[in-house]
Symmetry: D3
Subunit: 282 residues, 6 copies
C-alpha cells in the first residue's frame, strides 16, 4: 500500500492542533497536575476497516514528545467493536489535549476505508476496481486517498496534474472529441494518460478511434454501459461513474467494466466510531 | 449569523487549490483556448440548506481575478433541486480549474447545514438548541461551525481555549468534581464559563453545588435525563449528549433540556449534491 | 499556571531567530572556531519576577540542537539582582548567535510579570484580581498573557473570539444595551459570557436587568465606581478599567470590585534587565 | 526616511489579526448589522511623535477591503493631545474588528518614536546621533527600527548579518582583539564594516591599530569615555553604550562621541496613548 | 503551451523579494525621492528564446501595485540582441528595488528556453521530442518546466507522483523487471503510466513483455540504442537518456527514438543576458 | 568559512522535497518493500570543488529520520572523478525518494564552487578577490553565496539591505554623485559602507572626493580600469565588474584591483556531476 511520509501529513496535524488548542487547553492546564502520567487505549466502538493509526497517533507526540504509543492493529485491518487499536502512554495533559484531533483524523480516515471496503465486497468475483474521485475534503486529499487504499480500493488521479481527463465542457471548448484529444496529445507530456468522458456509444467509438487510454462511461443506463464496456474490450481501460451505490455497484461490476469510481467514499462517508479510553488509575 | 472574514477562509481555499492544481491543470491548459470566456450556473441537484456560497465562489477569482459571480440565494436558505444558486462568468479555463474545489467546499458546508436543519426541525416547539461539537474536519472547523449556524443550529465551544469543559478524565485527575472545579475557577480567567460532564444524578447535584455554569448530561437514559434537567432547572444551562439521532432527538428535547449536542453534524453529514453547469455556448 | 506548548511558541522563536540571523551571524562565524564549546549563565541584573525561562532557552537549541540548559529558577519566582537563572552549555557559536533573541524574549516577559506583581502587591488584602487586556504586542499575546499569570495576575479574554464584550460603539450600533445584549444572546453560543461596558450607573442598572455576566465600569470616578460595585454585588462580575496605575489601584480595589484591568502590563512594561554571562574560559 | 514596503509589514498585521480575531469577532458579528457603515477618527490622547500611521491603518482594509482612510498627519510629525491623525471610513464591523490591532501597532511604534525624540532633544547641538540596538521586540524589528528613524534617531545594524560587531566573548574565543579582527577581515566580505567593543583605553588603542571601522566604548565612566573619544578622533566612528538615560545622555554626547546607542528605545518605551473615536452617528 | 497560474508562481517571487530586500532597499530609499516616477525597458542583450516575461514582471507590482507593464514580446518568441521585451512604468524606487529579482527570474527561464531550442533545432526532421528531467533547481521546477515548453521541448514527469519510473535500484529491490512491474501495476492507480529503465537489450525485451508503457534506453551506445528503438517500435514509447549533448543529439534522434531527455536544460543552462534600461529622464 | 544553520537551509529542502514528492513517490512505494535497508555512496562523477555536502545529505533524514550518513570529504575540498563523498545508510525507500533532491542541491552548489575556484586560480599571485553578485537563483542565495566561499571566493553584499550600492540610475534620480552620496550618508546607518558605481575616471574622482568606501569600476576597458585602480589606491576599495570571464580575469586582476565580481558564478555555473550509487546488495 502506498506510504505516507511524515512531511506530508505533519502539516495537516499542526494545523488541526493549532485550530483546536488555540491560546491553550484551559481545562487540562487548570485541572490536571503538570507531572501526571497516564495510559490510554485507542478503542474501536464499531466494526470497520482501520486507516490512519500512525498518522493520528503522531498528534500526541506533537503535543509532548515524551508520549509514546504501541500499535495493536495495522492500517487496512478489519476491526471489530471493542477492539484495542493502540496504547498511548505519557503526560496526562498531553493525552487530553491531543485526544480530539487524533480521533477526528482516525475516525474520518477509518470511515472512508470502511465505506470503501463495503463497495469492494460488493464487486468481489468481478474484475472491477473501486476507485475514488477528486471529491475529497479540502486539505485532506492525501489522507483520504490513502484511506481508500486501506479499504481495498484504488486511486484515480490525485489532482488536475497527473492525468488528462477530458470532460464534456473541455470537448465543447476544444471542438469535439477528436480535435480535443489531438490538442491534449500535442500539448502534454508523453508520461500522462488521456481519459475521455463519454455519455453515448457514439462518443465511445470516437474516443476509441483517437486512442484514448481510459474511457469514462458517465451516467449510462446499465445496458448501455454493458454495450460500452463490450465495445471497449481491452483496447482501453473502461470506467463507470454516476449512480453508483451499494445496491447498484454489483450489477455495474458484472458488466465487466475495469473501474468504478465512487465520490461518496470521500464526500459522504460517516466517521467510524473510535474512542480513547483512559486507564482507571489516571 | 456570525460572519466569516476572507482572511479566515482564504488560506483554506489556497491550500485546497494547491492540492488540486499542483503542477498545473493539464487538461484545461491543453484543451481550452486561453482567451475563451464562458458562463456557468451553480445548480442545486437536491434539496437542502445552503451554506458557503460566498466562500466557495471565491475559489474562482483566486484562480483568475477576472472571474465575477452573482448570487441567486443566500447562506441559510432552504434550496430545492434544480435551483440556480449563482452565476459565474469569466475565463473558461479558470472556471474549469476551480470548479472541483468550489464544489467540494460548497457541498460539504451545505451538507452540514442540511443535516443541522433536519435536527432543528425535530425539536421545533421545544426550547432546545441543537449545538455542534469539536468533532469537526481537521482544518475546516471554522467553515463547519458556520454551516451549523446556517442550518439553524448554535455553536458549542470552538476549541480547547474558549470554554472550560471538565470531563470524567479531568475529574479523575483533578480529585473529584468539587476539587476540580475549584482548581479551574482559581486558574482560569473570569471571562470563561465552566461546564461539567456528569454521568449520574449524584454528579449533577455535586456540579450544581459548586456552581457549574453548564452541566453536560452524558449518555443518560431518557428518564434519568429528564430528572437531571429538572434538577438543574435554570440554575445552570443543561446539555444532553450521546445517542442523539433524528429519531431520538425529539424526545430528548421534550425533557426541557437547553442544549443537545450532535457530533454527526460535522463528522458524518453527507455532502449535498450541487453541480456547476456550463452554458451550452461554452 | 496555564502552560505553554512548544507548538505555540516555537514559531515565535523561529521568526525572531530568522529576523536576527538573516543571512548569517557573520561575527560568530568569522571569529569563533567551529568546535569551540562553552558555558554561560543567564543572570538577573535587577530584581523582579521571572517569566519565560523555558521559552527563551529553547532559542539556543533551535540554533544548535546540541545545546543543553539547566534551570536554577522557575517562572513565577521572585528573583533578585545577580541571581543565576539557568546554565547553558554547548557550542560557543550557537550561544552567541541565539543570545540576543533569548534575552529579548526573557526580558520582555519578565518585565510584564514584574509589573503585574507590583500591581498585585498593591491590591493585597482585597478580593480584586489584576487582569490584562488585548493591548498586547502584535504576535506575542500568548507569551504576554502567560507572563501576566506568572506575575500573579489573571487573564481577561484572549481575543475577540472567547468572550462577548459589548462596548459603547456596539451599543450605539445595536440600538441600546437591552437590544444589543438580546442580539448577542440570540446570536452567540451558550458557552460564552457576555460583558457590557458601562459609563454610568444608569447603564449599570440596565446591564444588570438584562443579565450581563460581567459589567465593565469604565473610567468612573472612585465614588461612582464604589456605587456601581455595590449595585452589582454578586449578581455579576464587576470590572474596573481606566485611570489605573500603581498609586490609584489600591483605592480602586478597596471598592470591592472583582477585577481591575490594566493595559500597561502589556503595552508599557519596561524590560527586566537580564544578561548572559560567559564563563571566563570561553 | 527609509521606507517600509507592504510586503514587509503585511505579514506582521496578518499574524496580529489572526491572533486577535481567531474564530471570529463574536461581539461585532452579533451586535452590529452587517451593512452598517461608519466613520471614525484616529485621535492622539497624548503628545509625542507619530510613527506607523500607514502601517497600522492597513489593518482596516485587510479586514474589509472596502474600508478607506485619509491621513491628517505624517510619520515623524510631533503630535499633540487631541490631534486627529486620520479618518477611517467603511463597514462598522470591520472598523470595530480591526481597531485593537491597528492601535496596538500605532501606539507601540509611536511610543518608540516619542522616546527616541526625547533622547534626540537632549543631544541637540552636539554631533552625536542616537542609535538603536538589537534589543527589539521579537518579530517587530523592522517596525521598531523604522520608528526610531521617525523619532530622529538612526539605525545601528539590523541583525547579525549586516555588520561585524566583535564583543568581549568573541575576542576571548578568537584570541585577542588583533587576532580576532584579522580573522573577521579574512572571513567576511569587503562590504561590511567591523566594529569592536572596548572596555578600556588599552583595548581602544588596540582596536585603532588593527583598523576597526567603529569602536564601541562600553559602559565607560564619563571621563574615560571622553578620553576614548579623543583617542579615536576621526580615525574611526566612536560609539557609547551602557548607562545611557535621559539625564546622562547630554553629558555623554558632549564628549564628542559620534553615536550613542540606547536599548530602551525598543525594549522599554511605553506605548503612546492613541484611540479610535467613532462618530456619534454610528 | 501549458499555463502558469499566479497562485503557483507568486510565492516564488515573494520569497525571492524577501531574500533580496530583507530589512529594506537602503540605497533606493536613501537616494531616490519617494514620489519619483520613471519608465524602463526590459531589453534583450543577447539572442535566444523568451520565457517568463509575465512571471518576472509581476515582481514590480508586488513591490508597488501602482507599477504597470506592457509586453512587446511573448513567451516562446525567438528574440534578438537589443530587442525591447517590455516597458515598465511606475515608482522609480519600486523599479529599482524589484529589478534584480525580475531579471534573475527572466534570465534563468529564458536561459533554459534558449538551450532547449538549441536541442530542438538539432532534431528537426526527426520524430524525437526533447524532454526535460527532474534535475531542476530546488523550488523552481514549475518555472523551469514551463521554460522548456517555451523552448519547444516537452515535459517528462513533474515529480515522483505523476508517472512510475522503475530504475535499476527499484528493479534490484523489487526482484527483477517482471516482478517489479507487476508490483507497480498492482499497487498504483490505472491513471498512471509505467516506465522502465533498461541498460541492455535483454532488459528491453523483458520490459516489452510485461507491457511497459515507456522504455528508457539509458546510456546505450548509438548502435545498441538503434536496435532497442527498433525492438520497441510502436509497442511502447521509447526514450533515450545519457550522453546527450548538442553534438550527439542529432544522431540519437535519427535512431527514431520518441523522446530524448536532457538534464542540462535545467541544471546547466547559462542565464540569457537581459537587462533593465531606465529612460534618460529618470 | 561562514557557516550555514539548519534553520536557514531546512526550509529550502522542505520545499524541494514537497515539490518532488507531491502526493507520493509512487514508484518506491510500489516496488520497494517497506522494511528494506540499504547503503549508498555519494560519488563524484567529475573533478571540481565540493560544496553543500551536509546541506544536501540532510534531505535523506528529512524523509526518514532513521537514515544516517558519514562524510568522506569536506565542503571546500578539491574532489576528483570517482571519489566517494559520503555513505548513506537506511531505508531503501527513503534513499530513493530523497535522492534527486539531495543531488540537485549538491550538484548545483558544487557547480558554483567549482566555477569560483577556476576564477580564483586565474588570479593567483595578485591581491584580487573573486566576489559574487546578487545574480543568484531565486530562493537559493544563501546556499550559492556559501558555495562561492567554498570555492575560495568572497561574498559581495547579500541583498539590498547590507550595503549601499549607488548605481547610475540612483545617481540620475538623486542629482549627481556628490548629492546622492550625501543623501545616503544622511539617511543610512553608520554601520553600512557606501559603494559608488563609476563608468568614467571623472566619476571615480568624484566618488573619491565624497569619501565612497568602495568604488565599482563598471565595464571599463583594461587601460581605463588600471588608471582607475591607480587613482583609488588604498583610499577606497576598488572593484571591477563587467566583461569578466576566465580569459580576461587574470589581466583584470593584474591591474591591482581589490575585487572582481562575477555574475556567472551563480547565474551560469553548470552543475557538477555527482551521483548516488547503491550497493549491489540493495
Amino acid at each position: 500500500m502506498q506510504h505516507l511520509l511524515p512531511l506530508q501529513y505533519e502539516p495537516i496535524l499542526e494545523r488541526a492542533l493549532a485550530e483546536d488548542i488555540g491560546s491553550g487547553d484551559i481545562t487540562a492546564n487548570a485541572c490536571v497536575p503538570a507531572g501526571h502520567q497516564t495510559r490510554a487505549t485507542v478503542l474501536a466502538k464499531a466494526g470497520g476497516v482501520l486507516a490512519g493509526l500512525a498518522v493520528s497517533c503522531r498528534a500526541f507526540s506533537m503535543v509532548d514528545n515524551g508520549v509514546v504509543w504501541e500499535p495493536h492493529a495495522t492500517d487496512g485491518d478489519a476491526i471489530t467493536d471493542r477492539q484495542p487499536l493502540a496504547t498511548i502512554t505519557g503526560s496526562a495533559r498531553a493525552l487530553l489535549t491531543a485526544e480530539r484531533v487524533a480521533l477526528n483524523v482516525l475516525q474520518r480516515m477509518s470511515g472512508t476505508a470502511t465505506m470503501t471496503a463495503r463497495f469492494v465486497e460488493q464487486v468481489a468475483g468481478t474484475r472491477a476496481r473501486i476507485v475514488d474521485t477528486r471529491k475529497t475534503t479540502p486539505g485532506l486529499r492525501i489522507l483520504e486517498k490513502y484511506a481508500v487504499r486501506c479499504g481495498g480500493g484504488f486511486n484515480h488521479r490525485f489532482g488536475l496534474y497527473d492525468c488528462v481527463l477530458i470532460k464534456d465542457n473541455h470537448i465543447a471548448a476544444g471542438g469535439g472529441i477528436k480535435e480535443t484529444v489531438a490538442r491534449a496529445r500535442e500539448a502534454t507530456g508523453h508520461t500522462l494518460k488521456i481519459e475521455v468522458e463519454c455519455k453515448s456509444l457514439v462518443e465511445v467509438r470516437e474516443a476509441l478511434e483517437v486512442g484514448a487510454d481510459i474511457i469514462l462511461l458517465d451516467n449510462m443506463p446499465l445496458e448501455m454501459l454493458a454495450e460500452g464496456v463490450a465495445l471497449i474490450g481491452d483496447r482501453a481501460t473502461s470506467e463507470a461513474s454516476g449512480g453508483v451505490n451499494l445496491s447498484t455497484v454489483g450489477a455495474i461490476a458484472r458488466t465487466g467494466v475495469h473501474l468504478i469510481s465512487v465520490g461518496a467514499l470521500t464526500h459522504s462517508a460517516p466517521a467510524l466510531d473510535i474512542s480513547l479510553e483512559f486507564d482507571g488509575s489516571l
